[in-house]
Amino acid sequence: MYRINLNKYKILVGLFGLLIIPKLAFASDPIYIQDVEGNPIPHALVKIGTEQVLTVGNDGSFELPDNLQEDQEIEIIAMGYDTRIFQARELSQVNKFNLREKIGQMEEVVVAATRTDRSVEDLPMPVTIITRKKIQETGGMRLSEILREQTGLQVVGDHGAGLQMQGLSSDYILILLDGEPLIGRTAGTFDLDRIAVSNIERIEVLRGPSSAIYGSEAMAGVINIITKKSQERIVANLESRYRSFNTLDLSGEIGMNQNDWNLYAYFNRFSTDGFDITPEVPGKTQSPYQASTAQFKIGKKTKKWNFKVYSRFYNENSENSMQVAGEGSLRLADLNGERMDLNLNPTISFRPNDQWQMTLRSMSSLFQTHTLTVFQEDGSILDEQDFKQHYHRTEFQTDLQLDSKQLITIGLGHLMETVEATRYDDNNRFDAGYVFLQHQWDPSEKWNLVTGVRADLHSQYGERISPKISGMYKFSERFSWQLSLGAGFKAPDFRQLLLNFNNASAGYYVFGANLVQQGIARLQSQGLVQQMLLNPSQFGQLEAESSRAINTGFRWKISGDLLFQGNFFQNNISNLIETAPVARLNSGQNAFSYFNIARVISRGAELDWTFRVSENLQFSLGYMYLDTKDLDVLEKIDAGELFRRDTQNRSRRVQRSDYGGLFNRSRHSGNVKINYQESSTGVNMALRGIYRGKFGFGDVNGNLILDESAEYAPGLISWNLSLNKALNNGIMIEAGGFNLFNQTTIHTPNNPGTILFAGMKLPIHQLINQNK
C-alpha cells in the first residue's frame, strides 16, 4: 500500500523493470492494444513468461521479440482493464487486439475519501466514480443533469438545482472543486446549474458523513469535481451542444503538457430561453439566463516539488418577470439577477523521499449576487438586494508512509469567512481553526482500516470533535464487506445567525440568532409586541447541527461481467435548525428566529447491479429505498396530539401508519441503463430510465405533516437517450433527448418535459496533425 503520489502503475513498472532482460534482437511489426471502441490504450504491460516485460508507448503499440517459442504465454496487463493471455503464435498473426474495461470503475482513484490517492476497491466506505465517458454519454450541459442519473442522488428544485443525498438536502452536502470547497448558497441550496460539465474529468461521490476530514457541511456526503488537465503534449478541443428552449452550450479548451509543465485553459458559454410550466401565470418557471465559465490551471513538476495554481471564474445574468399584488390590482415587475463566483487555489507540495509528503494549499473565493425588481409601468424599484461572501482557507497537510501498511495524514488549517448583505446586519466575520488526523492501515491482506478525527475551533459555535472509523474485510477477491461509523456536523449559516428581515406587506419579522435579542427589544420599545411566546433567556447561542451515521455494505464481483454493490445507511440527525415564533405582534403576525429544535432519522439502502451481456452491450440497474422521519412528529403522534381531517373536514387522530416522513423525499427511486455499441456503424447508444417515486410536495390538510394522499406528487420515469459516433478524423457527433415521453408534474419545477439535443466535438489538435 503506497499511496503517496499514487502511482501503482509506476511501482509495477519499477518492479517489473528490474526483470527485463535485454535480448530483443529482432522486432516484429507493431501490435496495437485498443479498447472495445478502438481507442489506443497507452502504458499497458506486456509480460512474456515470468521474466520479460515490455512497456507500451503512448499510441498503445508494442513489438514482439523474434526469439519466442510459439506456445510462449504472453500476458497483457493494463490498469482498469481485464487482463488477457495469448500464445505468442496468436499474437504474431494480428496487428491489433482489444482489452475490455473492468466492470464498475473499481480501480479508479479517489481523492476525496482520504485526501490521499486510493482506488475505489480499497476504500472501506461507499464511493462512486462518474468517469469522463459517463458524463459525455449523458449529453448533459450542467452538473445537475449528470448527478440526477446516479443511484441514490436526487436533484430537487429549491432556490436552484439542489442535490439530495441519503435523504438529506443540499445544505448538508459539501461540494468540492479539485478538492477545495465551493461556496455560494441560496437558502442553503448549492445550485448545481452553476457548474459546467465539459471540463470535468471525473466526479467522486462519497456517501456518509466526512466531517472527520472536511468539517462543516460534509454531513450527508461529499461531491468532488475533478477538472481536466492536459494528458497530451498539445490538446485543443471545441465542443458545442444545442437543445430545446434555445439552449446553447459552447466550450473550448487548450492544454499543454511538456517539460513537466502542465497548462490548461477552458472557456464555456451557456445560454437558455428558460421554460414555463405555468403559462397562465406571468413569468417563467426557469428564468432565461446566460452564463460564462472560465478556468485556468497551471502546474510545474520537479523531482521533489509540485506547484499548481488553479483559478475559475463564473458569471451569470438572468431576467424574468412576475406579478405583484398591490393597491388593489396586480402589477407586473421585471426581475434581473446577477451571480458571480471567483476561485483561486494555489498548491505547493514537497516530497523529499518515499516516506514524506507535505502539501500547502489555499482556496480564496468570492461569491456575489445582485437582484433588482422594478415595476414595468413606471420603472420604480420594488426590491433590490446584494449579497457578497468571501471565503479563505489555508491548509497544511503532511502524509507519512510509516511502512508499507500504514499511512498517516495530519492536517492543520485556518478559515475565514465574511459576508455583506442587504438583509444581514454587520458584524459578520467568522474565523475557524482546525486540525485533523487520519490513519490508514492494512493490518493484513484481507483487512483495511481508515480511522480519522478532526477538531474544529470556531468563533461562532465553539469547538467540535468529529470522529470516523471505517473498515473493510475482503472475504475473497470477489467479495468484500465494509462498515463505516462517523459523525457529521453543519455550522449555523450566515442567514441563521445574521438575518434581519421584515416582510412589510405581510407584517412578520425574521431575526438571526445573533440579533433576536436586540430585534425583539426594539419591537417591544416600539410597542409592537403583543405577547412573548418564548422566554428571552432561551435566546442564545445557536449550536451546530449534528449527525451520527452508519454506512455498511458490500462489493460483490459475481463474475468478470457481473458486479453487485450495496450500501445500507442510517443517519441520526439532531439539533436541526428551524424557525420558530418568538413573539406575537399586535398585527396578529409573528416574529421568528432560528433554534436547534428538530431531530430526524434518515435510513435506507442503495443497490447497484452492473451486467455486461457482451463486448458491446452493458446493462445496469440501480435502486434506492429511503425512509425519513421527524422524531418530534412521531412523538406527537404517539401522544395523540396530531390530527387530520376526514371527508367532512372533522378532525381525526393521525396514526403512525398515516405518516409519510419528510416532504420531498421519494421512498423508492431507481434507474435502468443500457449501453450499446453498434459495431458496424460505430454508433454508441446510452439509454437511461430514471425513476423518482412519489413524494410529498407539501401540506394540504393543515396539520403541516405528510399524511394524506392529496399531499403526494406522482412518481415519474424520465427516459433519456443519447447517440454518439466518433468519425475517423476524431470528430464526435451526438444527438439525443431527455424525458422522451414528456413526463411532468407541477410539483417538479426543474422538469420542463421533453428536451432534444444535438452536439459536436472538434479535436482541433488531431485535425491539424492529420493535415500535416
Binding site: A325, S505, R650
Partner: protein, 207 residues
C-alpha cells in the same frame, strides 16, 4: 341563508345508552347535540396590501351559541363573532358581554369535559381569547399556496354570556366545506365558515 344541520353527539354516547340502561334513567339531561353551521360569510376589511391601510371597514358577523343563530349587531346577545380569519368573543375590548374563550388541542368528539387546567380569556390589548395569526390559534396559512387551513385537532372552548360551556371546531374557511385538496384560494369563495359546536345548557363542564 344559513342552514342548520343537526348531528347526534357521538357514537360513544349511543354505545353508552345502549349498553347501560340504568344510567339512562339517572342522566336524562344528556341530550346535548352537536350542531353544524354552514357557510357563514364573514368577509374581511378591504386592505391596501402595499400600505397595510384599511380602505373599507366591514362588520363582524355576530353569532349566539345559546340561540344557535346570528345576532344583528355588536349590542346584541352574541358569544362569538367572525371577520376574515379573526375570531372575537363578547367581552373585554370586543364587546359588553361576559363570553370568554380559549383554544385547546383535542379531538372534538373525544373531548367530554372542559379540562380543569383550562383558563378562559376575554379579548384584550395583551391578546385575544382566540389568538390571531397563522399557527397561533385556529388556522395555518400556507404562504406558498395561500390556503387558510383550520388546524386539525384545535377545539375552541367558549363560556357563553349565559355562563354555559360550549366546544366548537372550525371545519372550513371555504364555501360549501370542500376538502382542502380541492381548494384553490384564487377561485374558491371565502371566507365562508363551516363549524360545528356543542353547547352544554345545564352549566356543567361536561359535554
Amino acid at each position: 341563508m344559513i342552514k342548520w344541520n343537526q348531528i347526534l353527539a357521538g357514537i360513544l354516547l349511543l354505545a353508552f345508552n345502549a349498553g347501560c340502561e340504568s344510567s339512562e334513567v339517572e342522566k336524562p339531561e344528556i341530550d346535548a347535540q352537536a350542531k353544524t353551521v354552514e357557510n357563514l360569510y364573514a368577509p374581511n376589511d378591504v386592505i391596501d396590501r402595499s400600505t397595510g391601510e384599511i380602505t373599507e371597514e366591514r362588520p363582524f358577523r355576530y353569532f349566539s351559541l345559546e340561540n344557535n343563530q346570528e345576532t344583528d349587531n355588536r349590542e346584541g346577545n352574541w358569544d362569538i363573532a367572525f371577520k376574515g380569519t379573526t375570531l372575537i368573543v363578547n367581552s373585554g375590548t370586543s364587546g359588553s358581554g361576559s363570553a370568554q374563550g380559549t383554544v385547546v388541542t383535542a379531538a372534538f368528539d373525544e373531548l367530554n369535559e372542559v379540562p380543569s387546567s383550562v383558563e378562559f380569556h376575554s379579548d384584550g390589548a395583551d391578546g385575544m381569547a382566540i389568538p390571531t395569526g397563522s399557527g397561533n390559534g385556529w388556522y395555518n396559512y400556507n404562504p406558498g399556496t395561500h390556503v387558510i387551513s383550520p388546524i386539525p385537532g384545535r377545539v375552541i372552548l367558549i363560556r357563553t354570556n349565559a355562563g354555559n360551556y360550549a366546544k366548537m371546531e372550525i371545519l372550513s374557511y371555504y364555501q360549501d366545506n370542500p376538502p382542502l385538496a380541492e381548494v384553490d384560494p384564487m377561485s374558491t369563495p371565502s371566507p365562508y365558515y363551516t363549524f360545528r359546536f356543542l353547547l352544554q345548557p345545564d352549566g356543567s363542564m361536561n359535554f
